[in-house]
Symmetry: D2
Subunit: 337 residues, 4 copies
């Protein structure tokens, strides 16, 4: 019973079916096909505002290309110290921006607080000698499986914008947050001040499809050239675009997110005493102790150890295709602990 | 009737079927799945030697990552002046290598001649002040739709190796050349001195799957880190790996290449007087004149204008899924011209 | 008797004297001193228009920083195939721009002809798939020791600007050309369409001082940040700035250039039959044959072999501090050949 | 009375005299002159071991080129959060390495403690998904004007080496530490495990000269190519090399460092209660309060405000050419506070 990551999941059969349905004929390459051309409209309707949307195949590409559009090579990118761009992308932001510097901020439950950001910005000099404050990158849901609310987002974005910075959101698990907060997709993105969004679909049911969504369309500038030279412009773009269309228009984003959220809440209820963070998406961080981890593994559960070894913590992620029985078994096992 | 590019083609239904067949269960992410793990073996058998093979989603990524493995930032990459890496990748080699310089060589029918290469290398100084001769990149089939023979390849590779350079092959349409020459895949790659190969599958029937194949496995070094930081490590790697497996193990590579080669020869026969280059793969370059191009377009044929406008040349590419009727119609139209 | 390069020369004693005269007291660092602050004014008066001028210590830095200001990472920089930025800077343009591609143009006597440029630009596609035509870089004097005239410069710049490109001039030996043409410094720079100039002083008498001069001041943008992060902002900037001030205000630029030009003409007269290029600065390119080269070396002359070994050509450069006797001896030796 | 920075200082007249003494004749360019050729020997004797030494003109260049030699583009560079490479080089490490990531560590009095480093390394994963621990960069004297002792250095270097990392030292003010500890230059560098050193001379009396010193000569690899393409290879290299020779062989390094240390100690005695850090070089950090700062400025003292505005702290740096009277006046003023 594998709770290692939502990256281990399969793809929604609906997506493969949609790809198969479009699999005939010779259509214009490199995004000039009808499916890719529909992305702007599809995402504009989803978010309730005019956007530009571009498809790529990985979250790292979406994040790094977004940041390369927003930060000069001598820019500073402010992010939570546990953000994926800091810890899990092997330096992609530095590569794509030509050397921008990450400024890591601590923060409880994976969130940067507006106070912390304001203090960090105040301490970051305006000087020829320093990297220039350029981007605030926020992760939604956070790496701790929590959600930023609109109020905090707005304050954070205001602080960044006041400094002339742009706001990027890594929305790898954005669908889970929208489902959790039961809000409009625009509420926690552009209405809260987000300029550019990495919109995730792969974890939540696609094969390999993410979107870079520009709420501030003036920032698109040379994005397409940057994507092309990075090797992220697909020749047969239709198959990736179709995944995004199926995800949004077919409602898979919400169906899957609601399901994984619900299952995560069930596990949370079973593990209440061990929770390290509020459960606001499909991830759970539990204090189990070495012994607890061992006992669960002995029962066939797979999960990631988390943080310092001595702490004995663990991460469980519910995938969109996780069998109910896996969850039931895990709940039972946790209650026994 | 679209002869614009083999990039416009659909994907082989066999591939979609294979993807669907593997579409269940939670499997390790980032290439630790069973399908991705089989790639080394699959490609080793295909080429008849022990190789390392890595999957990416675009030819530009395969080329740029290969070159970044082979060239230092202050390297010189020798290539034909019409090579895809020179003209169609928006500077990807410069981006991935951190600034390596392209040295463009002319050459008839898209080929660099061994004499030309030797002269260029002799003229390229060994000096602290100059970019250092690092890589020879050859395209197979060439951008003129022609094939390098083993003899020339061997001479070219020897000249490069004698200078301490590495040999990269852009094999976007390698399958067509193997089919055309009716040779063993190893003959025109590692047995001819190729160190690293960009192995194409997308144009010839995949959705989005290319391999970087290391014949010299000592060169792999940090390839996986470079791929990761470029955002080209897929989380759900299985779907891309399956395409390569189906392509090789299912024999699609040869079936499709033989078909497009055969159709291309049929068109060549109909257009004999107009041929600008020998037809040794699935591409045809024809001198049609402005008038000829216009007449073909009026009959519903789509193709690329090629070269300087005044020359009136055109490129036709046969896709793996090109209907026979398209080809028959084109042959008839060309004979009428 | 060393005619290897004007880089071998000593520095004008007037410069060392000026540096010593300013060598007291603690003054603001990083260019906030009074000498550095005078550079804009000094160069504005020299060129007869309002400019921004920045000091760096090498020509490679001046060129690469200029190009990084003018070209995006996916830009194409058009230059003569023998330009210093192509052959002698170890890939600095690629490094500083983040991967821009050099497009090398041939041209007689080191010059790009306007026709050649127009043809190259017409052939360079406007496409998402290609590096974007961004900069024309011209060398004045050229690598063949010749001068561009205002007419050609104007045509070249117009062709570049019409394509939306910027014009960079590598003016390592600009003083020699101004002296040769006996023109106003503005005539062959901004009045001919040059946007940004690498202004050389080191070869012609400084210790280590070059200026980047922005005729189009809107292009300065982030130049100072780029210079800083490249490690080319000097903490004790006064000593470099003083060299430029002494060079311009003290008239050393003209005195030295006139002298080396005059001596070069004297050698040219003695070598008339062997000249490969018109002598329009302080460099001479001679066809001597292997035998001729050997005989001159046997008499104690040092110079560079030039071009393919078999051709038997050689380059002689007159330094600002070249003794008259060296030149007399060389003339006599050449006449004897 | 300017205590802003030792960067504001003039240059030792002995250096200008040595430059003038060598200012005749045409000598080989780009470091092939006799003075530059002596650097390896000079620094080998200074440090008591065989080294390779290269001259550059700025500390940022020395640091960034060192790091580019030691870290791959996907490397992690561990440094104190107040290190110059983190806060004052406008992203030069990211630029030169091609995107390496800085991992900032806190630490009292500007020092990283061995415990802190070991904990940070233990927490830094070994994974394909993360930047790879590559370099430990230590500043000597630290940004707090303190010195690392040999014991701590050795422990730090051992921890880094045990992880396969290299140890870089930013020795901008190394002379002050050697003078303060009254040790052999080798003791706190290679004997403590330092692999590559940025050796400062500019602040302590040169015009513009720093050395990159390789204690591990196998690391030199492509340093010279990297320096060239960065525009940091001086054509008239003799003038920079002479500064380093005069600095070392002429004993200026020690004379100047001893003097500034002594003056700094005198100020420290006068400011005892206000000291924020031990004074172990030529820098003082004082808690003065807003009012104290204002009163000192009213008396003609120039210095930097330091840290958060509200804290009311200040930095004073003694320059090698600081008049004794400046120091006497400052002492008197501080005692009056």
């Amino acid at each position: 019973m594998r709770f290692l990551s939502d990256n281990t999941a399969s793809a929604c059969p609906e997506m493969l079916a949609a790809m198969a349905a479009a699999n005939s004929g010779r259509v214009p390459a490199y995004g000039a096909d009808e499916w890719t051309s529909r992305l702007d409209r599809c995402f504009s309707e989803f978010f309730g505002t005019e956007v530009r949307a571009f498809v790529v195949t990985t979250g790292t590409a979406a994040n790094a290309l977004s940041l390369a559009t927003l930060s000069p090579p001598y820019g500073a990118i402010f992010a939570h110290e546990e953000a994926h761009i800091v810890t899990d992308e092997c330096g992609a932001p530095g590569f794509y921006t030509g050397g921008a510097q990450l400024v890591m901020l601590p923060g409880e439950h994976g969130r940067i607080s507006p106070e912390r950001l304001r203090a960090a910005l105040a301490a970051h000099p305006v000087s020829l000698h320093t990297v220039q404050a350029a981007v605030l990158s926020l992760t939604q849901a956070t790496e701790a499986g929590t959600a930023y609310r609109r109020g905090d987002l707005t304050e954070l974005a205001e602080a960044a914008h006041a400094r002339g910075m742009k706001v990027h959101m890594d929305g790898t698990r954005l669908a889970n947050v929208i489902a959790f907060l039961d809000c409009h997709p625009g509420d926690i993105t552009w209405r809260s001040g987000v300029d550019v969004l990495s919109f995730g679909a792969t974890k939540n049911g696609a094969l390999a499809a993410e979107a870079v969504v520009f709420f501030d369309r003036s920032l698109v500038k040379d994005f397409e050239l940057q994507r092309k030279r990075a090797g992220h412009l697909l020749s047969k773009s239709r198959y990736a675009a179709i995944q995004l269309l199926a995800y949004i228009e077919g409602g898979l984003w919400l169906r899957n997110a609601q399901r994984t959220n619900r299952l995560a809440q069930r596990i949370a209820a079973a593990a209440r005493g061990a929770l390290l963070h509020p459960v606001e998406a499909n991830e759970l961080f539990l204090h189990l102790g070495s012994d607890g981890r061992q006992r669960l593994r002995a029962q066939g559960f797979e999960f990631e150890d988390w943080g310092a070894e001595a702490r004995g913590d663990a991460r469980f992620v519910v995938s969109w295709d996780q069998p109910e029985e896996d969850v039931q078994a895990l709940c039972a096992a946790l209650e026994r602990l």
